[in-house]
């Protein structure tokens, strides 16, 4: 129908003046041709009379020429807000936004797979270890009875530890068990931009309503809600609605809600009332298990020694671990050497991951001081006040681990007299780390700040 109307317009254009054409025909369209009753869509009522009185003969002629039966022609004012270009569509990253809006729509229209879930994430491919077994157990209980225990399910942990994988796997399993289950997976950034979109198009109410029909809502990377008060409020409403209906809510974040700045206390406490589960850094054995599983999955052959070498040397997160693993496999394919040979002849140097670049020691001291909200001078003083002392020891620890400085040098940097003090400080932090998760998180955050 669109093409027919294009032809008609092309013909009309030749018969009427350019001014008339661009004024009267520019925003027209063909709505219906059923049984010879033609309906032409126009911009608003101002166009109807003129088209009818001045141009109806030309339109009729052209339609007949294009093989359309014409009994009568009517004009109808059509909605313009659909056809107009929305500002969102010219901003950067239009694809992700568009494809996501599509996926939202489809989720509600049909029960197809367009619910934001990626079917490559399955529970089978999730390697269970001591670092994540509790979270996985909780995930399994959700899969067997969604919306009852562990609701809301709050999952947190550093980047690249498998948060997205685990929650997507839950979603995929739920859909597998019950294809009618309505699920939506959305990163908070998309939630936010969709929300803005909806508001801009005056559909704020519909936005909310769309979520009401869900059986399960998965929100990823919740920490990015920072500073988006309106979205947070909207999410809070949606959360409450779904929660009251006993629908499963799953939220992931890189830290606990109470540690995310500007998250409303009401929301923070609600998010963790079903329990907060964390994914920790994998231990050596876990890493080996992950790599073996990965090798099996892609059918690659790799020596156990190579796996151990990689596991030992990548200490950041699972994403980096898998990344390095893939790089080595690729290199071994290209060079025709086995992974172990590559490692032995030194071509596969992993250490760069651990130390992306050398940061001046001064900067590290400053970052640590800033993190603990202390002036550098105060932190590097002789104060024995507990929190200042801890900050100083953290600085020593990071200097030693990240820059491998000698204890004497570190003593200079943080303003203590003796290198034995430094040795004690590092040991103290190391032993604290085993028990004190907050401290571990803090150090991770500081490192992120240093390298970020």
């Amino acid at each position: 129908m669109y093409n027919v109307w294009k032809n008609v317009l092309a013909e009309v254009e030749q018969k009427v003046s350019a001014a008339n054409f661009s004024t009267w025909f520019q925003d027209t369209s063909l709505i219906s041709t059923e049984n010879g009753s033609i309906i032409v869509g126009v911009k608003n009522s101002f166009y109807v009379k003129q088209l009818r009185s001045k141009f109806i003969d030309i339109i009729t002629d052209s339609l007949i020429k294009n093989g359309i039966e014409v009994k009568n022609i009517d004009f109808e004012v059509q909605s313009t807000n659909k056809s107009k270009v929305r500002p969102r569509e010219v901003t950067p990253f239009p694809d992700s936004i568009k494809s996501h809006t599509k996926s939202i729509k489809k989720t509600f229209e049909s029960k197809s797979n367009n619910n934001g879930l990626n079917s490559k994430y399955t529970l089978d491919s999730f390697v269970i270890g001591s670092n994540n077994d509790v979270a996985v157990a909780a995930a399994k209980s959700i899969i067997s009875s969604p919306g009852t225990r562990c609701n809301p399910f709050f999952l947190y942990g550093g980047p690249g530890l498998g948060k997205t994988h685990l929650v997507q796997a839950i979603g995929n399993e739920l859909v597998k068990n019950n294809p009618d289950y309505k699920i939506l997976y959305t990163p908070v950034s998309q939630f936010y931009s969709d929300f803005i979109d909806a508001i801009q198009n005056g559909k704020g109410k519909d936005f909310n309503r769309k979520f009401e029909k869900l059986d399960c809502l998965i929100i990823d990377d919740f920490q990015f809600i920072v500073g988006k008060e309106k979205s947070q409020e909207e999410f809070f409403n949606i959360f409450n609605n779904l929660y009251q209906l006993n629908k499963q809510i799953i939220v992931t974040s890189d830290r606990l809600p109470s540690q995310i700045k500007t998250v409303d206390e009401r929301l923070a406490s609600r998010l963790t009332m079903g329990g907060a589960f964390d994914l920790q850094l994998p231990k050596f054995e876990d890493k080996c298990a992950i790599l073996r599983a990965k090798a099996e999955l892609i059918g690659a052959e790799i020596e156990p020694e190579a796996i151990e070498y990689i596991a030992e040397n990548v200490n950041t997160n699972i994403r980096d671990l898998e990344g390095e693993f893939s790089t080595i496999l690729l290199m071994s394919e290209v060079r025709g050497l086995t992974p172990l040979e590559l490692i032995q002849n030194g071509s596969a140097n992993i250490n760069h991951i651990r130390k992306p670049r050398l940061i001046p020691s001064k900067q590290i001291v400053e970052k640590v001081a800033k993190y603990y909200d202390l002036p550098v001078k105060e932190m590097c003083s002789k104060s024995r006040v507990a929190h200042i002392k801890t900050a100083r020891q953290v600085a020593m620890y990071i200097l030693s681990k990240e820059l491998s400085l000698s204890t004497t040098k570190i003593a200079n940097e943080v303003g203590v007299k003796d290198h034995t003090t430094v040795m004690h400080g590092i040991k103290k932090i190391e032993s604290d780390l085993k028990l004190n998760f907050t401290l571990r998180d803090q150090i991770e955050e500081i490192k992120e700040k240093i390298y970020g």
């Binding site: 001014a19 608003n44 009522s45 101002f46 009185s53 198009n201 704020g204």
Partner: protein
């Protein structure tokens, strides 16, 4: 076609209609005014295809016929003629002769065939409201200031006419502030449409002292305003307006009563220092009796003024001074209420006595 009319009447009518005929429209005839004489009824018509203005001109003598003339040229010519003169306009083959005493000119018009026919309101189906012109003018102008001119968000470029609990309300927002006025109480019909703010402004401009009542008719995608001898037809905006009642906070816990003039004065003072920070000022209520308005511009200095008023709850809010001044100008009581909360929630401004008008301003993030 021939008419005889006094200069002041003609000039006023041409002023009303010619504004929208000066457009960037591609069709030249839309820059013309249509003069139509039918049985001693003379109408001047212009349109830009989004709206049309019709002015019925009282004349002393006339002969039937129609013609179109460049609107701006005719309006300027007539306005420069001596006041009180009797003007005679006659048309023959699209040549329009305007003569009065010593002045005479011939303007090349064009035949009226090209001039678009105007859409009509279906009187039977139309939803009609009538109200006093002064209330209408006050209501519209107090709401229109909050309207946006961002064409990418069409719904916000209009004034939202809606009925709620048998009350006709109008509202506008640009996303940073929102104004609502309860216009007519106890209405029977229901309505839910957006009228372009630009059309509303034409209606406001057409208002003069002699007018008493305005009739508003909604039908399909059109609205018609009838006021005195002027009739304005406009399209409606095809979009849905945000559910604005949800934006008005219900649990703001701090209310202070302030003298409107005084608050305008201190806000203006503070605004002088707030230019470099985008007009950001801080309003603060302090027990027992101080309401202060502050602004700081690092390079200029700072300003801190206070107003005495009763304060029960202490709190602080940062606002854009321009929006606050706009809101205060739209209010009209001597005393107004300033209702806010220390949480990040909009401030609600109302007249103390008459609660029909609500203006809310979003706070700035601190």
């Amino acid at each position: 076609m021939e008419i005889e009319v006094t200069q002041d009447k003609l000039s006023k009518a041409l002023n009303n209609v010619s504004r929208i005929a000066i457009g960037k429209v591609t069709l030249p005839v839309l820059n013309n005014v249509l003069i139509r004489v039918d049985n001693n009824k003379v109408s001047l018509v212009t349109t830009n295809l989004d709206m049309a203005v019709i002015d019925f001109l009282p004349v002393s003598d006339s002969k039937n016929g129609t013609v179109t003339v460049p609107a701006k040229l005719l309006a300027e010519f007539v306005s420069n003629l001596p006041k009180g003169e009797k003007i005679k306009i006659s048309a023959k083959d699209a040549k329009v002769t305007i003569s009065t005493g010593k002045y005479k000119s011939v303007i090349n018009g064009s035949p009226s065939d090209d001039f678009p026919e105007l859409p009509e309101i279906n009187e039977k189906e139309a939803v009609v409201f009538k109200m006093g012109i002064d209330e209408f003018k006050d209501g519209i102008s107090s709401v229109a200031i909050a309207s946006s001119n961002d064409l990418t968000r069409p719904a916000l470029t209009g004034i939202y006419f809606n009925t709620d609990n048998k009350t006709l309300c109008i509202a506008a927002t640009d996303g940073y502030r929102l104004a609502e006025k309860k216009l007519i109480k106890n209405v029977e019909s229901e309505i839910n449409v957006i009228v372009p703010t630009s059309s509303m402004q034409e209606v406001l401009r057409a208002i003069n002292e002699d007018m008493e009542e305005i009739e508003i008719s909604f039908n399909n995608d059109l609205v018609r305003f009838r006021l005195g001898e002027v009739e304005i037809i406009s399209k409606l905006i095809d979009a849905s307006f945000p559910d604005y009642r949800r934006l008005i906070p219900k649990d703001n816990d701090i209310t202070v009563e302030l003298d409107r003039e005084e608050l305008i004065r201190v806000t203006r003072l503070a605004a002088l220092f707030a230019k470099s920070v985008n007009g950001s000022i801080t309003c603060e209520s302090k027990k027992p009796n101080t309401f202060s308005v502050k602004s700081i511009a690092n390079e200029l200095g700072e300003n801190d003024s206070s107003i005495e008023t009763e304060v029960d709850v202490e709190g602080k809010i940062r606002l854009n001074s321009r929006f606050l001044i706009d809101a205060l100008n739209a209010l009209n009581d001597k005393t107004i209420t300033f209702n806010f909360s220390s949480r990040i929630a909009p401030v609600i401004l109302r007249n103390k006595k008459n609660q029909d008008y609500t203006h809310i301003v979003m706070p700035l993030n601190s």
